[in-house]
Amino acid sequence: MSAFMESRVWKFMKRILSLLSSPEALFWSIGSWVTYYTFMMIWDKESFAHFVNGLADRTIMQVPYLLFLLTGYLNLFRSSKKCLKTNIWKLAGTKLLPFGILLVFTGAFISISSRQFQWINAMPGDEIRPRWAQEQYRVESVDAGVRDRLLDIDSEGESGIFKYEPKVTISQSGQAARSIGAFPPSRVGNTFYHVLNFGMAPSFAISEGGVLKGREYVPLRLLMPGSNDSFEIQPLPYKFLVSFEPDRTIQKGSVKAGEYNMKDPLLRIRVLEGQDVVAEEVTRESMSFRNIRLDVGKPVYWVQLEAVKDRGVYLIVSGLLFTCLGLPLYVISICMNLLRRQD
């Protein structure tokens, strides 16, 4: 009886496997997706975003996708087995591309459905630890790569405002320091880190009636000439608007440009109480209004790091490599096949 059951189960399994490994099943799953996507594209407009969101957390989207992947791998296995018997070069020529594409799709699924990420704002001296990580790291330095002196027209030109790509150095006690750039991301422990954004954090000390109320670095969205940001200090009723000011203006012919010292920038500070401007000053040292004094210190850079835990990323990268390698081989193999038919 048991042998009979096993044999029936096995036969059933074989039928299912043979169905899934058929090119028909693969084309049906691709065709179904194309039809679904086209329908969504016409009636919804943001179809890709909805598809990706659905893939992240909706079983009704995940199951057909997984079936498609299974069908794809089974088809690849079946056709590779056939190739292996006849011509091993054909295997490399025709199967590397679909293998690469399937790896990308697999990696994308793992990435979309299980990716964890966190955006962390930090300044030198801060400790960082994403919520899923055990290890804690200390931000040793933020090297913004911004040129020491720049013109306001630099941000519009090709040269940009950077000397080189920004870098952050982090370290853990007893371990060597690690440098993190913008791209490619650096893997530290089980987490990828890369620089997503950064800006300047000038130091401000505030005294009221000669009594120091506080001193700290204030991270502001200040990076290049023309940018401005504001901050408030509780419980004071003021809003401080901060922007860069040029140290001098250069004129060549009809072109005028402001030159900025980014190492020790000159700041325009406007103090607002409600809608009214209470005080305004261009300084790199201090300003006073009413019975308050605001001292400005040398700024540091703050950085926004993206920390990502993603198990799919290696599959995606290797899939892309296989695809890049497989594409020309596939084209060559098609051309050779056509030539052979001509003969």
Binding site: K45, G107, I334, L338
Partner: protein
């Protein structure tokens, strides 16, 4: 003559008549050769049903939503035909995609129903759009009957032309180029090139298809960058941004989408030329050569309509890219000034009307810098106010191309309905207050949102 004929109505009638006539003739030729000419009745019934169903729009109040629904239905029917033709092409290349239907495919009822449904899917949106267009025209014309008479004249001329064509081209010759896949592909080609309707959408559906595919291509690239942790931020400009910009460029996107669109027809042509010949009892000699010759000749003939489709699409793709795609309207920004912390934009003045559905731009000068603001009324009647920049690209701004705005830097099409939603390639939305006379935007809001330009920060909020 010119005072009597309403040319738009005449050409609308001619176009629809020719479309129906050509498809009928090809279908009838194919059915005639296969000995199934009686099935053409189902096609005629489907077409008549479409005319009757579409005629209801002559008596209904056609709202903008209904117009959009009809335009979408036209695109949908094209997509269904194309997917069906792709499936049929693959099926005829040796795959057995419809083996489950083998047992029932011979039943006359099913065949009749399929032809009836296909013709209704093909014609209902087109004829509905045409009737709505004609109704609009008749309302503009002092003598409405002239419009309807011109439509009828157009249809009559198309009948004469089809009748002349049927005498010039024998059914045998026409049917030698067609099987079911080629017929479906031919129908989708007709739909693509002449499936739109004046007043509702473009005459050709190619721009709509291009937009959809361009958006898909852009979304895939963007998603890949997210997964590979490529920051879309100016801090990459010196090293990687140019490389990224290459993938976002309009030329690459245009080629990618064309390839995607033509993948199936190209596969069919490849299989027609390269698939092995079927086994024959005639092992050698003249008989075998004749057999091989007839198989190859038949395959080549059947590949001709597919090849024509590929050539036609390729030609129109790049002519559209060259003219229509670059036909982006970028309005000149009008200067606005700050007034007690607010920017006031009049809803109407002698030179403009913000509710005309067109894109309007304004520029505010602050500290020697210019900040551009764009205003547009969405199809749902709500006004959208945004900065003329997004959080990803350098702030080149947006232009209006037909019914969507397009980023001038990365060429991403953005549906107007999605304006006001933050994030990605959408323009950065601004909070504003509006009454009948003015749109009011706080300068603080503008300055605050300006910091988002080219910063990528939206994604933080979006996630």
């Amino acid at each position: 003559m010119s005072s009597f004929v309403v040319y738009e109505a005449f050409f609308a009638g001619l176009k629809e008549g020719l479309k129906a006539g050509i498809i009928w003739y090809v279908l009838a030729s194919l059915l005639h050769v296969k000995g199934m000419l009686r099935l053409q009745r189902a096609f005629i019934a489907g077409t008549l049903f479409s005319v009757i169903a579409a005629a209801s729009f002559l008596f209904l109040n056609v709202t903008p939503e209904i117009r959009e629904y009809i335009a979408n239905s036209g695109e949908m029917s094209f997509a269904l035909l194309l997917v069906a033709s792709a499936a049929a092409l693959l099926n005829s290349s040796g795959l057995r995609l419809f083996s489950l239907l083998d047992r029932v495919s011979g039943k006359a009822f099913l065949r009749n129903s399929a032809i009836f449904a296909a013709s209704a899917i093909f014609f209902v949106p087109d004829i509905s759009g045409t009737f709505i267009f004609i109704k609009d025209l008749s309302l503009l014309n002092e003598r409405a009957y002239q419009t309807y008479a011109s439509l009828a004249a157009g249809v009559s001329v198309s009948v004469l032309l089809i009748s002349a064509m049927s005498r010039l081209l024998s059914r045998g010759l026409v049917s030698s180029f067609f099987e079911l896949p080629q017929l479906l592909l031919f129908a989708s080609m007709m739909k693509l090139t002449a499936g739109g309707t004046g007043g509702i959408s473009e005459i050709s559906l190619i721009p709509a298809v291009q937009r959809g595919l361009m958006k898909l291509s852009h979304d895939i690239i963007h998603q890949t960058f997210v997964m590979l942790m490529v920051p879309d931020h100016p801090l990459l400009k010196t090293t990687t941004w140019n490389f990224i910009g290459f993938f976002f460029g309009p030329n690459i996107a245009s080629w990618e989408t064309l390839l995607l669109f033509l993948l199936c027809p190209l596969m069919f042509i490849y299989y027609s030329l390269a698939s092995p010949l079927p086994e024959t009892a005639a092992a050698a000699g003249a008989e075998r050569r004749r057999f091989v010759q007839s198989v190859l000749s038949d395959r080549r003939r059947k590949a001709v309509p597919v090849l024509l489709f590929v050539l036609l699409i390729s030609a129109s793709w790049f002519s559209q890219s060259g003219e229509k795609i670059s036909a982006v309207k970028v309005p000149k920004a009008k200067p606005v000034v700050e007034d007690r912390g607010m920017v006031l934009i009049p809803v109407t003045d002698p030179t403009m009307d913000l509710k005309d559905g067109s894109l309007h731009k304004f520029v505010l000068s602050r500290s020697d810098k210019e900040i551009r603001i764009m205003v547009i009324m969405k199809p749902d009647g709500r006004i959208s106010v945004c900065l003329d920049a997004c959080e990803i690209c350098p702030p080149d701004g947006y232009g209006l191309r037909e019914d969507h705005v397009v980023c001038l830097y990365c060429n991403t099409p953005i549906p107007v309905v999605s304006l006001g939603e933050p994030g990605g390639c959408n323009p950065i939305p601004l909070a504003f207050a509006a009454d009948d006379r003015f749109i009011r935007i706080a300068v603080d809001e503008i300055m605050k949102k300006r910091e988002l330009i080219n910063s990528s920060r939206s994604a933080e909020a979006a996630r």
